[in-house]
């Protein structure tokens, strides 16, 4: 080897690459295969390493960070169990198109395939749940591979990319050169929408009597919320959003119909059912949105804008596809439409549906309800907080009772439906967002799935409000058991097996509170919001048997919507 060349170890190259990618935070956990990286990390000053308590927590934190900031979330874990523990978070990021890059240690290349200590074929395991993954087999490829990983994760339809780093690759040396640009001949996302298709779409919208915008997470990912607002406002168009789309259009605006789908508002679902033109922007016609496919927007001309061609015609056959970046396509569509549409009749109809079946819950029996707590949080934060929800009833109630007004404010596990998402994801968000309150809302079931990360929040003094809506039940499963499974509440009752959440919080060093009285919600929230030098935990003991309404049962159409619990007398 020539002595005049400047050689760097794989570990040095790794951190130089992170520096070039402007990574400021990584979520990780050390172990045998990545010791050399942690040795270097000890002296790295340009980024913060967040020590988690479980690698699943690290991936959800990276997701929370990425969803809240729009930047790529980065994870560093060791081989074998360290790597396999990341799998749920990776699958979650894949389903919700979250840009994260996961670096896993691997046994040295000469031991790969030998059932070596802490070996797992993580590249094989994660192939179906990553946008792409790499095994670095030559240190000379390390820099280019990392560049590719960040490029693939963050462009097109974003997603998780895993890079497996064998121990000897981290130790080996070579010259460092970071490629300025990466060309991948097999990967060229279509960015600009087809002009003629856009013109056609504009014509269809112009001539529609009952148009509806159906907006998904793509609008937020492409930072197209401003374009969406202008487009909807200038043309007087009603907007309904998916779970991931919430916040792309202000819910306080009368043109917002709220969320659609299984637990969407009555009027949003009626609007979908009756519209004559449905414009899908960065959404993927998920089964929780469509219900029965052939009765989804049955009479509508369907326009579908998405950057991922595989989304188009996958679930619902559309009339006019536009492949491209949704932000640009909305801007182009807007420029084609010059006069606001005359939609008075359509708006009158939508508002009649609003009156016909508003969201409601019991307010007068003196018992504490999740909906009430969420409404209070919405009021107190004026819809400006970052709300990180888990999965289940509380998640749906948040979509109904929290008024999201900004993009990147509603972080939730949608596609995979991962219980245990909220606690770590809120921590990730808190590392990225410093100027807005971060509120984690979980049920009592999901909270326990990653509550070890409370110590991460406490150690880094993150001012997160951890809210537990404790109904002593796996509430959503309970709801399905009541509605569809003969009221057999099989293994969903946690009332005898929940821990004391206040003690849990205190054990991790969090100021912790609990109440079951509606009258105390205000003061407890005020107290929690006044504490900003560390996390707090508030347990709200809520009514056990409440259900989320409305609900359109899975695979059904709006005709079968249930808006309230059936009165036993009516059932006879």
């Amino acid at each position: 080897m020539k002595s005049n060349k400047h050689l760097l170890s794989g570990a040095d190259i790794f951190f130089e690459c992170l520096r070039k990618e402007k990574v400021d935070t990584i979520f990780g956990y050390p172990g045998g295969a990545v010791l050399k990286l942690y040795e270097k990390l000890y002296d790295v000053d340009f980024l913060q390493h967040v020590l988690v308590r479980h690698e699943q927590g690290a991936t959800h934190m990276a997701e929370g960070y990425a969803k809240a900031t729009g930047k790529v979330g980065v994870v560093l874990v060791t081989s074998g169990p360290g790597a396999t523990n990341t799998v749920t978070g990776i699958a979650d990021a894949y389903m919700d198109s979250v840009p994260i890059v996961i670096f896993t240690g691997q046994v040295p290349t000469h031991l790969i395939g030998n059932d070596a200590f802490q070996e797992a074929d993580i590249v094989g395991i994660t192939r179906p749940i990553t946008k792409h993954n790499f095994l670095v087999r030559d240190v000379k490829e390390l820099a280019a591979t990392i560049k590719k990983a960040f490029y693939i994760a963050s462009t097109g339809r974003p997603g998780p990319v895993l890079v497996d780093l064998p121990k000897d690759m981290i130790a080996a040396e070579c010259e460092f050169e970071y490629p300025e640009k990466i060309e991948l001949r097999g990967y060229k996302p279509t960015f600009l929408g087809h002009q003629n298709q856009i013109k056609k779409a504009a014509d269809v919208i112009k001539n529609s009597k009952r148009p509806l915008l159906y907006v998904g997470g793509g609008v937020i990912m492409s930072n197209g919320h401003r374009e969406l607002r202008l487009f909807a406002k200038e043309n007087n168009l009603p907007v309904t959003m998916t779970l991931q789309g919430l916040g792309s259009f202000p819910m306080s605006d009368p043109q917002s119909l709220g969320m659609l789908g299984m637990h969407g508002t009555y009027w949003a679902n009626q609007a979908v059912n009756n519209c004559d033109v449905l414009v899908s922007l960065g959404a993927r016609f998920d089964d929780r949105v469509t219900g029965k496919i052939d009765q989804f927007a049955p009479s509508a001309f369907k326009i579908h804008v998405d950057i991922d061609p595989t989304c188009i015609d996958k679930n619902v056959i559309v009339d006019l596809p536009i492949v491209g970046d949704v932000k640009h396509v909305i801007a182009e569509l807007a420029s084609e439409l010059s006069e606001p549409l005359q939609l008075d009749d359509w708006w009158a109809q939508i508002n009649a549906w609003r009156e016909e079946c508003p969201l409601h819950y019991e307010k007068h029996d003196g018992r504490l309800r999740s909906e009430f707590v969420i409404e209070k949080i919405s009021e107190k934060t004026k819809g400006e907080a970052v709300i990180v929800t888990d999965v289940g009833q509380h998640q749906m109630w948040v979509t109904q009772y929290y008024q999201f007004n900004n993009p990147r404010s509603h972080l939730s596990s949608g596609g995979l439906g991962t219980m245990g998402f909220s606690v770590p994801a809120s921590i990730g968000a808190a590392f990225g967002i410093k100027d807005r309150p971060i509120i984690s809302i979980s049920g009592d079931g999901g909270f326990q799935m990653n509550m070890q990360e409370l110590i991460t929040a406490a150690y880094y003094k993150l001012p997160i409000k951890f809210i537990i809506l404790n109904n002593s039940f796996l509430g959503m499963v309970r709801q399905w058991q009541e509605l569809f499974h003969a009221e057999k509440f099989s293994f969903t009752d946690l009332s005898d097996s929940n821990p004391d959440f206040v003690k849990v919080g205190e054990a991790f060093g969090l100021k912790s509170f609990s109440t079951d009285k509606p009258g105390q919600v205000d003061s407890l929230l005020d107290e929690a919001f006044s504490i900003n030098d560390g996390p707090v935990l508030i347990e709200f003991k809520v009514v056990k048997e409440d259900m989320v309404f409305p609900i359109i049962p899975a695979g059904k159409s709006i005709k079968e919507i249930m808006t309230k619990r059936l009165d036993p007398k009516e059932m006879v």
Partner: protein, 170 residues
């Protein structure tokens, strides 16, 4: 309907697995897959034979395109193409049938590639339906074992109209 899809992929560790994983993960059918190097060593060509309704095939093509390591995906179905498959077929023979079997082999323009005192091995190449026909005819003699390569296919070159040479007679 049966579709023959030709895919150019990066000749890299794991690419084949990626394609196969995608097919099984999405629940797509595969009748045969073959893969081999192309004129450019860093690119391999995969030929996939799959069945499904048009909507499914559209998804197959899109999902193949979506993989980072795929460079080009062409559904050759409905296009003028050359499809070939190779089969090695070992058949039992008895006194009197050996000549019949070699005769069948000749009819299918195959070759005898191995023989012992009980069996004879034939090599047959051609479009998949020709292989099916050969197998069908050989079956009554007793097929001991068989290996099929799966289909490989290429689009036919465009036939440009050849210029006529002026002859001396005109």
């Amino acid at each position: 309907m049966k579709h023959t899809i030709s895919v150019l992929v990066e000749n890299q560790f794991g690419t084949f697995n990626r394609v196969v994983t995608m097919f099984s993960g999405k629940g797509f059918n595969v009748q045969s897959i073959s893969i081999g190097e192309t004129e450019t060593p860093e690119i391999s060509r995969m030929t996939l034979v799959t069945t499904g309704e048009d909507k499914i095939i559209e998804q197959v093509v899109k999902q193949l395109n979506r993989l980072i390591d795929t460079i080009k995906v062409v559904d050759l179905t409905g296009q003028s193409r050359i499809e070939r498959e190779l089969a090695l077929i070992t058949v039992f023979y008895q006194r009197g049938t050996r000549a019949e079997i070699t005769n069948v082999c000749n009819i299918f323009r195959g070759n005898v590639v191995d023989i012992n005192n009980k069996t004879i091995t034939l090599e047959v190449t051609g479009p998949p339906d020709k292989i099916d026909a050969a197998i069908n005819v050989l079956e009554p003699y007793g097929i001991k074992e068989m290996a099929r390569s799966g289909t490989v296919a290429l689009k036919r070159g465009e036939q440009l109209k050849a210029e006529k040479k002026e002859t001396l007679l005109t």
